[in-house]
Amino acid sequence: MLSALKRELLLFFGVPKNIYLPLSVFSVIFLIFLILDEGQLFQYASLFIASFITVLIISENTFKDDFLNGYIEKLLCEQSNLFNYFFAKYVTQLMFIFIPMLGLNFVFGSVPSGMSDASFSFAYLVSLLTLNFFFQLGSVVSVRRNNSLNALIIIPLLIPFIILVKGLVIDGMWEPNFYFLMAYFIFGLFFINYLTAKVLEIQSR
């Protein structure tokens, strides 16, 4: 697991577009909404929309390069553990993309009223990771066809998620939204990642 994490860290710093591209997209969308200054509701919605689009872009690139250059095929043929590889990807994304996104929100945006900074941060990061799991499944289904919009095929599975994240991040209602979010997260962490691994295996044959 440690070697997979070291690989991902080196890859993140060796190919800087992995960091600056998603953060630039997030910043541009987020700041455009803020500049428009349409009031509180719009301000929180901007965070949600910017996060949604950023995660969609990240998910498209998470496995694509490694799939196209044959690294995933090599991992599978050498019977390496794909879950260590996934874990390393998520940790680096969390550290270098999702946490900076949260930081940008604290600098330029604000936290919904009635919610502490810590609760908001935790809920926001969990929702980003969950969204990432689902979009990644959508993008690996079409990894051979190289069509970024195919990640959107997963949207029907995300309708309840979007409703509860809106309740949590925009309306600031902790209960019961956070518990549903955690249920979604656990489902994504185990089942959706299992499906993603299986799809990658099928695509590599």
Partner: protein, 190 residues
């Protein structure tokens, strides 16, 4: 001699088309096995069956082969935006200078892969397998894009690996590797 892989009437189908049918063979430890055949005859698929990526009930495998395979597919599994040295660092490896000099690629260690020729990239990818501690090397077209001198060097490295008890299975449709066992594949396409 230990039999690492054995197949009895092995067949493979893709999208309802038979790629190959009724192939039987044995791969023994400490040998070079070449899989030869034309385009579309299923050489790469057979390699993936040996690695366990494609499951088959007709293949018997020694339990301890898993985890002892170093695989090089059609693609080099390397990051084009990084240099030879950085690509090895990703795998927590240091370039074996003597081996890289034998392959005439040591001088390329700080160049990004996207500035190198196809053959140079292939040799870099091969070096990763050649300096692997794993004893079973499964290689898909290892000589593709290589000049005659490089092929001869790699053949001699293969011979050294086998002498030390290693095993090589390679899909190849270029010159025959000396003292190899050959599995002939014929396309089942009509």
């Amino acid at each position: 001699m230990t039999v690492l892989f054995s197949a009895n009437s092995l067949s493979h189908t893709i999208d309802g088309n038979d790629i190959f049918t009724d192939i039987s063979f044995e791969v023994q430890a400490g040998t070079i096995t070449e899989i030869r055949g034309g385009n579309g005859s299923g050489k790469s698929s057979l390699l993936k069956i040996l690695c366990g990526l494609i499951k088959s009930n007709s293949l018997n495998t020694q339990q301890d082969v898993w985890g002892d395979i170093s695989y090089l597919g059609h693609s080099n599994a390397m990051v084009e935006e990084l240099s030879f040295r950085q690509n090895f660092a990703l795998d927590r490896k240091i370039i074996d200078k003597a081996l890289a000099q034998r392959l005439n690629i040591f001088r390329l260690r700080n160049q990004k892969l996207n500035n190198l020729s196809y053959g140079e990239k292939r040799k870099i990818a091969l070096q990763r397998t050649l300096q692997s501690e794993k004893s079973i090397w499964i290689l898909d077209e290892p000589f593709a894009g290589l000049d005659d001198t490089s092929v001869a060097t790699i053949e001699s490295i293969f011979a050294e690996h086998v002498k030390e008890g290693g095993t090589i299975v390679a899909a190849n449709h270029q010159q025959i590797i000396s003292s190899s066992n050959i599995i002939h594949m014929e396309s089942s396409y009509a």
